[in-house]
Symmetry: D5
């Protein structure tokens, strides 16, 4: 497998397609460039999803995240772009992307966006005491 930045999000077949279950992936090492000043921005990206037919391959996800390293990106736009790209790759039942940016000028910013398959029903949560 390649070890260069790549927008190609490889997938694999969901091993338990008959069950709704959760996959969470945290990536504390996201970095891109501020489109206004050209200086580096840093963030932690957190994904949580319910797969349908496919799961996203972890190493491909890492190379995809790497492609933002030299790309200018606004906080609100880049979060929605990551959501759109992963939805296009694996068509999940549900996907949430949370981007927690490092402090700039004394201000902390976090952006959260979600995709829901309109034909999918979120499972009724069970909260045991």
């Amino acid at each position: 497998m390649s070890t260069k930045p790549s927008k190609d999000l490889e997938t694999f077949v969901n091993p338990e397609p008959g069950r709704d279950y959760t996959i969470r992936i945290d990536i504390p090492e996201f970095t891109c460039l501020c489109p206004k000043t050209g200086q580096p921005d840093f963030a932690t990206i957190r994904l949580e999803y319910v797969p349908a037919a496919a799961c996203v391959e972890l190493k491909a996800l890492k190379l995809y995240i790497w492609t933002f390293r030299d790309q200018g990106a606004f906080h609100e736009a880049v979060t929605n772009q990551i959501l759109n790209d992963i939805v296009a790759a694996i068509q999940p039942n549900f996907l949430r992307v949370r981007a927690e940016f490092n402090v700039r000028g004394g201000i902390y910013t976090t952006v959260v966006a979600e995709h829901r398959n309109p034909e999918w029903q979120a499972p009724q949560p069970v909260h045991l005491p």
Copy 2:
């Protein structure tokens, strides 16, 4: 852009208007003056909102917060004023303002106020297990 205190809350066009998503902004460096004693008060201001047509510009928000520096302001009133000012600027679908004031006389005070667009429906939360 100016680097002086300014009540002018600049905005920019929401890059993903077709989706309800969340923007959180934490500002740990709010300071104003106590209207009774004239002494400085300190607080952390936390915003969370769902944008409609516009988002609030971060640097303008910082200059806006700066305007309270030499202004007398009661805890309950200033929290509601920040809410009202940001609502006027960006007309969001939802905005919550939380002001956590530093201890005074052994007492900690926090004030939280919200605005909801009456025509907007909060998304049904998905709690994955």
Copy 3:
């Protein structure tokens, strides 16, 4: 204003009466006497309320809390008494009193009591993702 213990809970006019919003006040320095042994008890008192026409004045609240200093008080009774006294003073839409007592004999006790205005509807909570 007086700086002596006082049961007189002064109030001020709610600056934003048209909006349901939350005021939280934490008082880590409550102390009273154990009615059985006469020895000092210590607790943190936490209030959260939605004001109607009036808010409770912070300094008066502090002097009110001070009145328990030399008073014997059972855990369950004193928590309900504080609730009753503040309700009498400001008639809030909602008030919760939480008293977290310091450990005694290896046992930690907390008592929580609430008042709700029966004509008031709690706002539907918005949980953003």
Copy 4:
């Protein structure tokens, strides 16, 4: 009052019977014996209840907990037994018992059991923002 282990759970009259309120009691010093090996087990016991006519007396509760010190007890059974004994003593509207056992062989076990008075309605929770 006695200072010996005792199964006798003394009670006192609920000082605010007209209001549903919460009493939480944490006991980090529970110890019993493993019925298989005879070795000591340790746990933290957490109670939360809504009293009806009576409250459980703290010192009596401590002496009751002490009775397990030399008694063999399985995790699942002892948690249910404590629940049953306190219910018999105070007939509360609601009681939850949570037993968090110390690690054994690299495994952590917690057991939680509840009693609800079938004629009692849990108060609708108010979650202020």
Copy 5:
């Protein structure tokens, strides 16, 4: 009892079958092999379940977990396999399996899967204030 790895999940009779209660078991010492590279993977496995007729025996559970030590296993597949094996052994009313894998290449992965007995109703949660 044996002290070797074993897929045999011994059980015991639920001591309080008339009550829905919760058993939580945390196993921070799960290790298996990556099926791609053959290198060790590490995870914390967290179970929570409501027993029906039977409970899972703790020492047998430990020997079962041990069987993965020299077995290749994908994150998503192994989580579902543990769920399926315990369901087969004790037919619980509810079982949740949460596998938190250690970081690999700067990425953290967690997988959560659940089984629900379709004839079982989750208890209505009581959230005391």
Copy 6:
């Protein structure tokens, strides 16, 4: 034994007089009055000492601390007074008193004072790797 405030610091015979060892006592519930305003001040008092012939009795220490409850006391003076009183009672080889006062006006104050028996040699510390 009395359960009233008392300046009488009872002692008992050091059970291991031939060895220099350390006794640490933390008292998070110290309270006195501000001599300027009459309002309550709160502090945590921390003692560490090396006993000579006598140790200080814990319950007597608690009653002694209680005597400050209605006494006006400056931060610097009260810390030195506690040091002097305990030295008079037990003549220790070493005593350190540390008073950590609660925040007032946004400022935190701590005062630390020590007594050393001039004929006593502090043990050479052993710092194991």
Copy 7:
């Protein structure tokens, strides 16, 4: 006493001049202006000192710190200036000033400066085990 910013550092007589003891004062609410951009900077100032004939009065210290609120000040220079001003006021045996500035541009800065009376000997520290 005044409640306006003031460079006048009032003092009071050391109540225990025959003993070397420590006074620590933490001020988390320091703010000044950046001399380059005019924007506010924030810091926590921590003092620790051994008094000689005089101690610094707490309220005066607070009013002194307040004078920096509208003053331009470089990190390194303002820390040394605070040190010099307090030394001039109380001539202590020892004074350490530590200024921890809030993050700017992803960078955290702390400056620490000390004054020692050349005729004063620091006490030999006692580290009890």
Copy 8:
């Protein structure tokens, strides 16, 4: 090996007698009885030692600690007794015993005692930057 309380501290041969190295053992589950009131006391016992010819066997240490379960013991005396017993069993180059007792009456007590072989030199500590 027995699984009953036993004062017999079994040992094994130090596997690296030519090197001074450190063994630390923390036992959070110590319990004894208060000799005044007969009620249970709880503590965490922390050992650190440099072995000479022998090391203390862990399971024997656990059974030894267990012997205090039904024994009355003052804080200062029991700490020194544990020190003396382990010194008698393994004659270490150095042993430190630290007993951290649970809070009683709002007061926390810790006792620390050490044994040093007079012919042993503590290694010069290396503090790498």
Copy 9:
């Protein structure tokens, strides 16, 4: 001033050259490339120094750190290079560089290197009790 990566470490004149004092700078956003695989590495860089005639300018330091973004660098070598470059720029009395790298393959690495002006004496530390 430029806002591009630059090896040029601008300096300014030490405002208090007659006093040895400490400047600490933490930079949590260092990133470079692994020279073996070409993939990004991440670290926190911590500096502490005692200035002589010059101090390092903060914004220039930020641009200097930025130059490593697309540079291959081994952990041990890059830490020493940062040390050497800052020493060349400001000739400090003392400089310590600490690089804490993010986890890779389950392993955490930190490298610490120091420069000392051989004619400079480190100040005798004062540890107040």
Copy 10:
């Protein structure tokens, strides 16, 4: 490079041989077998060393740690063995090995061992205020 367990500790040339500096490596995923019961033990291994001519290669270190996976090893012996093996491979000026074992039977054990090149002088530590 191999990806199998291997006792072969590859090294590389120290890039800054003229300077004493520190390399710290933390390995939270050590596992071996208990020589008495055959069950798995788990530990965190922490190394800190000052290199002489050579440094230890990280991936080789990981494969070396892997070799203990199916090996019986006592706590005290395995810590000393790791120390001896790394000393043999890189002949460092200084090496400290710290092994923190997971809890067993309610007891936590840590073992620390060091090697010092007798001709090497530890650098005089500089503690800046």
